[in-house]
């Protein structure tokens, strides 16, 4: 038995203190359904199944956080985009709410927030169960898509990505107005999550450098991420910002974020440490393809290398996968990842 609970360990980290070891956090989401033999559809549509799968995953792997995450369309869906839930596959955006900006301007949208919209119940039901069951010893992270990602899921994606990449003055105004409305709606969702006891983690996968340019990020993603961060800072919460994909090309923009913890994906984290490490607690970034495909021995070697180079990050470090652990990742691979992370991540305590 370790001397600290994950909560105590996380609290020390955010107090700028050195805990007994680094926190270890493979982003286990639907993989927890896989090891529990639940159907993916149930995992994405039933809060009690999501919660039970997370509890099972914790019992198997002893990670330091619990994750409440559907897919990144949860807000877009609540606003009217239509998603399909195949029995054994990830949810798919079947029909976005709008086909293009013109379509948006011609229709009126109901911006009134209530907890009964879309699949918000999935989050709230899951958080309530997890908080009651394990909330005393584990932080519960609830993933909230940032406004840019929601925007992209309200439209045909190729259309909206074109619009944000080359907007004229009028379209820029419409886009900004729409992003503000999405931001206010998202803030209401965050307020509910906070009330149920989970720490919101802001995710902005469609603002990845693999999808948009630094300029688009600066204009249409960053300002609205910041509004969510400011709202969370009102509560004096420590804000985690997770961006999937390649963020190497806009490190400079990222450095201006007021988030407290940065979770990064496809980036050279060791070199990013020099640039971001004095300001942020860094989270990341074991390759998710590698965790699926490499042998446990190879994973151990790579984890050891990553941890030894990252654990001295000035503001602290959390070992994580760069993004979600793939659904059918072998358990042995995750055991290797977690054991090695805990083993080499120890501090003098």
């Amino acid at each position: 038995m370790e001397i600290l609970t994950s909560r105590e360990r996380f609290n020390l980290l955010v107090f700028d203190e050195v805990p007994d070891r680094i926190l270890v956090f493979p982003l286990i989401t639907n993989h927890s359904a896989y090891i529990s033999n639940y159907s993916i559809k149930d995992y994405y549509t039933k809060g009690e199944i999501l919660a039970q799968a997370q509890i099972n995953a914790y019992e198997v792997y002893q990670t330091d956080f619990l994750s409440v995450f559907s897919e990144v369309g949860i807000i877009a869906e609540a606003l009217g985009s239509y998603f399909e839930y195949p029995e054994e596959d990830l949810p798919k955006l079947k029909k976005p709410l709008f086909s293009n900006l013109k379509d948006y301007c011609e229709r009126k949208l109901d911006w009134e927030y209530n907890e009964g919209k879309g699949r918000f119940y999935l989050y709230f039901d899951a958080i309530k169960i997890l908080y009651k069951t394990l909330g005393d010893i584990l932080p519960i992270l609830a993933y909230v898509p940032a406004p840019f990602t929601t925007l992209a899921l309200l439209f045909e994606q190729t259309e909206i990505l074109k619009e944000v990449s080359f907007p004229n003055r009028e379209k820029r105004k419409i886009l900004k107005e729409l992003l503000s409305l999405i931001t206010n709606f998202t803030i209401q969702f965050i307020k509910s999550i906070i009330n149920y006891g989970a720490l919101p983690i802001i995710v902005d996968p469609l603002a990845s450098g693999s999808v948009i340019s630094p300029k688009t990020y600066k204009n249409f993603a960053f300002p609205y991420e910041e509004k969510l961060i400011n709202y969370l800072h009102r509560y004096d919460l420590d804000v985690i910002l997770h961006i999937c994909g390649n963020t190497q090309i806009y490190l400079k923009e990222l450095n201006e974020s007021t988030a407290d913890l940065l979770s990064l994906d496809k980036i050279n984290l060791i070199s990013a440490k020099r640039f971001l490490g004095d300001k942020f607690r860094l989270i990341g970034n074991f390759d998710t393809t590698e965790i699926l495909l490499l042998s446990p021995e190879e994973i151990r070697k790579k984890v050891r290398n990553l941890v030894l180079k990252m654990k001295d990050n000035k503001k602290g470090y959390i070992l994580a996968t760069g993004c979600e652990v793939p659904f059918s990742t072998p358990k042995e691979n995750l055991f290797a990842f977690i054991e090695e992370g805990k083993r080499w991540g120890k501090y003098k305590f």
């Binding site: 600290l4 360990r9 609290n11 009651k132 010893i137 509560y235």
Partner: protein, 448 residues
């Protein structure tokens, strides 16, 4: 108004940013020194019990809650800004006036962490303590041992002061175990508490000498000379806090309506011990609440039903939910005897040339160093002063003093004050009060 957890979340939306950023501890400007957070913030970091409690809806009380629950972080920040941390155990009131006479020292009470398992509804600290062979039949304060082991609730103290002699039996074992721990390079000193109030002169002399010894060690740690002027100034500051708390307690207890809930009063009473590790900020928080209460009385604004029956509560409840339950079911706490009487008394510096004598005399009013009958008198005094109709004594499951004194207290109170007494046990942490206890409390209130 008393509001539940979710309502505070709604109310918090209306607080402007500039107010949130206004309140900071240790007179610091950095963002980390903020503490005006709603209960949600602390619930997210594990204080699960907050979801079941009710809170005063004023900004003044939000400030109180935020300040109290921020204390762990505050202590770590204190160490980070080179303050020296002094852990004071089992003394309950005599040492902090000396500590806070030094600029760079912060005193805190690890003892107060006995509430941690209840606020987090968690057994982990008990489990760790059990592994160190503490039996279940000892006071909940045994969890303090686990907090020392974990090093996650306060930074490594620069000095640990522990009481011996007329000190709590159970806690005495806890302190001895802590002394045997690994705290290399941390000085650990024992302070003897005299056992009998009857041998008053000898007791005062012993305490005075002990306090002087402690002051000398503190002076070395702080690298600051303690002059009599500084000590007197420190004591005056403490007296101001105690005086304001006395005024507050009188106003709340004597008022026809209840201008403040019992849970906030409990937090305020315990603030007299160590000022939640920042005496200057605590002074302002207390004054803010005193003014709020005056205003409420003037406007005839109460937080409970006017018809609620007045009672006195003796021995602090380990689980704060009991206070809320009592108020929701028709009672109101007008008086209290939470075993820290020594921290509520004005230190008589006018009476003595040497302030150490004044500290010693004040300490002799301690709730637990005399006969049980003397403690009964303290409770009876509260009953008479506030015209209470009954008394509830909460027992700390396994605490030795409860086992031997509670029945005597009950007999004394029933005979001399002629009011009924209900004795309840507070079981281990839980999100709910056992039905059996609820029924007993309801029946008791009905019969008042």
């Amino acid at each position: 108004m008393r509001v539940d957890f979710s309502t505070w979340n709604e109310l918090f939306q209306n607080i402007p940013e500039r107010i949130i950023k206004r309140y900071k501890y240790y007179k610091r400007k950095e963002d980390w020194a903020r503490y005006l957070s709603p209960p949600q913030t602390f619930a997210i970091y594990g204080m699960r019990h907050l979801m079941s409690l009710k809170f005063d809806s004023s900004l003044e009380c939000l400030r109180l809650w935020g300040f109290v629950f921020n204390e762990t972080e505050r202590l770590f920040r204190a160490k980070q800004i080179n303050k020296k941390i002094i852990a004071v155990m089992g003394d309950l009131g005599g040492i902090p006036p000396i500590i806070y006479s030094f600029k760079s020292l912060i005193g805190f009470y690890p003892d107060c962490l006995w509430w941690q398992p209840f606020f987090s509804e968690n057994y982990n600290l008990f489990e760790i303590t059990a592994k160190a062979s503490f039996p279940e039949t000892s006071c909940y304060s045994r969890v303090v041992y686990a907090t020392f082991l974990k090093k996650a609730y306060f930074p490594k103290p620069d000095l640990i002061i522990a009481s011996t002699g007329a000190s709590c039996d159970d806690y005495s074992c806890v302190m001895q175990k802590i002394n045997n721990l690994f705290y290399k390079n941390t000085q650990f000193i024992w302070l003897e508490i005299p056992p009998r109030k009857e041998k008053r002169e000898g007791a005062i002399k012993l305490l005075k000498e002990n306090y002087q010894k402690v002051a000398k060690i503190l002076s070395e740690i702080a690298e600051e000379k303690l002059t009599m002027e500084k000590l007197i100034l420190g004591i005056k500051r403490v007296n101001l806090i105690r005086r304001n708390y006395q005024k507050l307690k009188e106003l709340v207890g004597r008022s026809e309506i209840a201008p403040l809930g019992s849970l906030e009063m409990l937090l305020l009473e315990f603030g007299n011990l160590h000022f939640y590790s920042d005496i200057f900020e605590w002074q302002k928080i207390l004054l803010g609440i005193l003014n709020l209460v005056k205003k409420r009385i003037k406007n005839n604004e109460g937080v409970l039903n006017k018809e609620n029956k007045k009672i006195v509560w003796a021995t602090p409840p380990a689980d704060p939910l009991y206070l809320i339950y009592l108020e929701d079911n028709g009672a109101r706490i007008v008086g209290s005897e939470y075993i820290i009487n020594q921290a509520l008394q004005i230190i008589p510096i006018e009476k003595y040339k040497n302030p150490f004598f004044a500290l010693a005399e004040s300490y002799l009013s301690a709730s637990l160093i005399g006969k049980t009958k003397e403690r009964a008198e303290l409770i009876i005094k509260e009953i008479k002063k506030y015209q209470a109709k009954g008394v509830i004594i909460s027992q700390i499951f396994g605490a030795s003093h409860c086992a031997y004194e509670t029945e005597i207290l009950k007999e004394e109170i029933e005979e001399k004050a002629r009011v009924p007494v209900l004795i309840i046990d507070i079981p281990h942490p839980s999100s709910e009060i056992p039905l059996q206890t609820k029924t007993r409390i309801n029946a008791f209130i009905e019969n008042l």
